[in-house]
């Protein structure tokens, strides 16, 4: 099928089989390999991207379902001026990553929720949605909380709604 994926504001006209999952289309057809596959069954969340602003497991969605729908991946987190997203800074500052394989999924999961004020429980719900085998999660919780606070306190001039 002929579709156009719109990823990080760029258009990717593609010819894909209907069975092709979004993660593979992003990685192999669009060359955006920042989205990682950790389980291909929707459990680990490493492949989380934003589709129309909502966090989805891109291993459980077909590419053809996303024709013409805006998609944002980790490659699109950095601002157009090259400035890192507050989440990226916060993950580094709080040591929210070690091997970094699950990280893009956590980043996009949080990015999708950062457009409103996040309570402690909401942050906890986000963190418990994905798997990480290195950090033990607490640093990830701190990182998302830090970025959320920066956002709420308006220190986040660069943050865009995604």
């Amino acid at each position: 099928m002929r579709i156009t994926l719109t990823v990080n504001d760029a258009a990717y006209p593609l010819e894909v089989e209907p069975r092709r999952v979004l993660a593979d289309a992003l990685r192999d057809d669009c060359g955006l390999t920042g989205t990682h596959l950790g389980c291909e069954q929707g459990v680990c969340g490493a492949c989380t991207v934003l589709v129309d602003g909502e966090a989805v497991r891109s291993c459980l969605m077909l590419a053809v379902q996303c024709d013409g729908v805006p998609i944002r991946t980790v490659e699109g987190l950095t601002g157009p001026d090259g400035q890192p997203h507050p989440l990226q800074r916060a993950f580094s500052a709080e040591r929210g990553l070690q091997c970094g394989f699950c990280t893009p999924g956590f980043l996009m999961l949080a990015a999708g929720a950062l457009d409103h004020d996040l309570s402690e429980n909401e942050v906890a719900d986000l963190v418990r949605s994905n798997l990480c085998r290195c950090t033990g999660y607490e640093p990830i919780r701190r990182a998302i909380t830090r970025a959320a606070h920066a956002h709420q306190n308006g220190q986040d001039g660069r943050h865009r709604s995604v």
Binding site: L97, Q98, C99, F101
Partner: protein, 738 residues
């Protein structure tokens, strides 16, 4: 540095990391393996002809189609492990055939068309069944793959005279290391060279193994380890799939890759642990330990391999942190119809710590002693180091009492005991329990792998290049090692960069496993930087026509002792030529240690365990980067929590692991399961290197599980807690409480 705490961070946070599956090589073929759906059986047919007709399939092969395909290395000739099954399947998921496609989809289409037929045989998955030898994995040969012992047999008289003898059985269940990135290999032939990209812990070992398998010179192979998504011990070998991929890449003259998926990983990635244990522990009436005996029956999987000998690590470490005068450990490794066991974070030390620490709690109850007091009476005192154990280890240094005291203080031990007493008097309150665990870890490696290649080179542009044979899979080497070299040389860390994980860039290397990188590579890099300073001073002395004693080194430059002239490294290189140190550094093993404590609340009617608090006091000597060490300690504790409460590989009667639901069946801890965890540290440097660093990062898997299990046993006031076997699922706890 640019607002990023680690050098690894920017690329990993922006999607610019490069894991093997991210590498794009033109005309690369994807390998998909056709896998056995039975645990044990005779292969009657593996017909790939239909697969070859599938569009997008470049080829399909069974073992019969590749008669020269070499078997796994390091095995026994009589019990060979073929890279593709030849006539006998010995573990579920064992590869029957391989299909190469121009992408993964087409290769999987082809794999679905491979016709296989297996006549099933009875499967054995427990050590006990295996030991009976009624079902043999290799016809005519016993399933016993190894027997070993550490220490000397203990006289019967010792047990008879002891005031108390505790006997118990424990199971160290099979675990899946489960790095978030599964195994990967990409082989790219070009000219007379083969470039191999792999998420791997030991690139030089992989190169050596592949050179042997492919019968070509080592120099003709380059192994590169790009970003690696965790390993935890599971990525340090060559695997059957690696052999097939490398073989086909060379045969076809085309790039071939295998990117293991989670479903495969659950079936055929190496497993950790896997021991049935029996212990006897004797003490006098005051609680002084007299003797300890550990019997290990290890289920090591289908083929003799490195994992067969790994239970010996448990035997050597059986003494633990106590002054027990007589310790004897025996090991039998038994072949079973499952993928092999292999090092997983802790690798042999969790299996040593858990039975001893659980039995210490039983002993304390038997003696009417507080478990902390029982441990205090037996811990090796600081002045006894170096301490030679009855099981043949010589511990370098330690202050176990300090670690235990800090753990108890941090926990608020007395307060929790008071709360426990209060709840015991309240029939409506859930019981709580407090569990302790003191451990000794071994880091650095065993004889034969205690060396490493290290190097430091000064450039004429003021930069410094550090090189070492380690390979990071998330441990921050690119940040930590340059900082150490910079500190030694007295230069800005930004001037130092690290080269590792590329066999073309390094004269040699051993790799990263057994918590060796900080201890061996770190000490080696410090040593190499010191040699570079000496060489710089000698060169400067010659330039200045001074005795070398009249030069000194500070802030990255040579100075004459008298006078104000100084010469930095770049100027020295410009004037005297390349300045590069390459060293083979060797140091002895070291013994990190610590004390962990846990408080749990148990609902005896539901069997649920709520962990209220974990305290981990670890001592790894000098921590090169304390935040990095804490990060690894924390993650390690969560993996230990996984072993204690959630993770395991149950088998059906047919010998197949009951993991069809993937990660919905194999329960890795999520954030929902993380209790409050507090870390504490003591610092007892190893005297075995000038740096003083011991290994770090494995201790949560070693110390935490028995602390949690002891806490549950304490909550339930179990006099003999054998029914509490990990993982402590609600079912296990409910039955134990009944």
């Amino acid at each position: 540095m640019d607002g990023w705490l680690r050098r690894e961070d920017e690329r990993l946070l922006t999607g610019a990391g490069r894991f093997v599956a991210d590498l794009r090589v033109p005309a690369c073929l994807d390998a998909v393996f056709v896998r056995s759906e039975v645990a044990h059986g005779v292969l009657r047919e593996a017909d790939c002809s239909a697969a070859r007709e599938v569009p997008g399939v470049a080829g399909a092969w069974s073992a019969a189609d590749l008669p020269d395909l070499p078997p796994m290395p390091l095995g026994e000739p009589a019990r060979e492990w073929p890279a593709l099954v030849e006539d006998r399947v010995r573990y579920p998921g064992e590869a029957l055939a391989v299909v190469l496609g121009d992408d993964r989809y087409h290769a999987e289409d082809g794999a679905a068309r491979v016709r296989t037929r297996i006549d099933p045989l009875p499967a054995v998955v427990t050590a006990q069944e295996s030991a009976a030898d009624t079902v043999r994995l290799f016809d005519g040969l016993s399933n016993v793959a190894l027997r070993g012992e550490a220490g000397s047999p203990i006289d019967g008289e010792v047990w008879e005279r002891a005031a108390v003898v505790v006997e118990s059985d424990y199971r160290q269940q099979l675990l899946l290391p489960s790095p978030m990135e599964c195994r990967t290999i990409l082989c790219v032939p070009g000219g007379d060279r083969l470039t191999v990209w792999s998420g791997h812990q030991a690139p030089h070992r992989l190169r050596q193994d592949l050179a042997g398998l492919l019968d070509r010179p080592e120099e003709s192979i380059r192994v590169v380890v790009p970003d690696t998504g965790g390993a935890f011990g599971s990525k340090s070998a060559v695997f059957p799939e690696f052999i097939v991929v490398a073989w086909l890449a060379v045969l076809l003259g085309r790039p071939v890759r295998w990117v293991e998926d989670r479903r495969e990983s659950l079936l055929v990635a190496t497993r950790g642990r896997g021991q049935d244990q029996h212990v006897r522990l004797a003490a006098d009436a005051e609680g002084r330990l007299l003797a300890y005996e550990l019997t290990v029956e290890a289920d090591v999987g289908a083929y003799p391999h490195l994992g067969v000998a790994f239970p010996m690590q448990t035997a050597w470490m059986a003494t633990g942190p106590y002054t027990t005068p007589k310790v004897h450990a025996t090991v039998r490794s038994l072949l079973t119809n499952t993928m092999i066991t292999y090092p997983y974070r802790g690798a042999g030390r969790p299996e040593a710590t858990s039975p001893l620490e659980r039995t210490m709690d039983v002993l304390a109850r038997r003696l009417g002693l507080d478990p902390a007091e029982l441990r205090r009476r037996n811990l090796i005192p600081p002045e006894a180091f170096p301490y030679r154990t009855p099981t043949g280890r010589t511990y370098d240094s330690g202050d176990h009492h300090a670690a235990l005291d800090l753990a108890l203080r941090t926990l608020g031990y007395d307060g929790w005991r008071a709360e426990q007493a209060r709840r015991r008097a309240d029939p409506d309150a859930f019981p709580i329990g407090i569990g302790l665990s003191c451990y000794v870890e071994r880091s650095g490696g065993e004889r034969g792998s205690l060396h490493e290649y290290v190097g430091v080179e000064a450039g004429d542009d003021g930069t410094v290049t550090a090189r070492c044979g380690a390979a990071s899979s998330g441990q921050s080497h690119a940040t930590v090692f340059p900082a150490l070299v910079a500190e030694t040389l007295g230069v800005e860390p930004a001037r130092v960069r690290l080269v590792e994980g590329d066999t073309d860039e390094l004269p040699g290397g051993v790799g990263s496993f057994g918590s060796r990188s900080a201890q061996i590579d770190g000490a080696g890099l410090q040593h190499a930087a010191g040699l570079l300073i000496e060489e710089a001073r000698e060169r400067a002395a010659r330039l200045w026509d001074l005795p070398v004693e009249e030069t000194s080194w500070s802030d990255g430059a040579v100075h004459p002792v008298r006078g104000s002239a100084a010469m930095g490294l770049s100027e020295l290189v410009k004037r005297t030529g390349p300045l590069r140190i390459d060293e083979r550094y060797e140091a002895d093993m070291a013994f990190p240690f610590g004390a962990h404590a846990a408080v749990v609340e148990v609902d005896p009617e539901l069997g649920t365990v709520r962990v209220l608090q974990v305290v981990a006091v670890d001592d790894c000597g000098r921590a090169l980067d304390p935040d990095v060490v804490r990060g690894q300690a924390f993650g390690s504790i969560v993996q230990g929590l996984g072993q204690a409460l959630y993770e395991g590989v149950p088998f059906g009667d047919d010998g197949l692991p009951l993991l069809d639901g993937g990660l919905l069946d194999y329960l890795l801890p999520t954030y929902a399961e993380i209790p409050p965890i507090e870390l504490g540290e003591t610092h007892t440097p190893t005297p075995r290197t000038p740096l003083g660093a011991k290994g770090a990062g494995e201790t949560g898997c070693i110390g935490t599980p028995p602390a949690i299990v002891n806490a549950v046993a304490d909550a339930l006031r179990l006099a003999h807690p054998e029914r509490l076997q990990m993982p402590l699922t609600p079912d296990v706890v409910w039955r134990a409480a009944a």
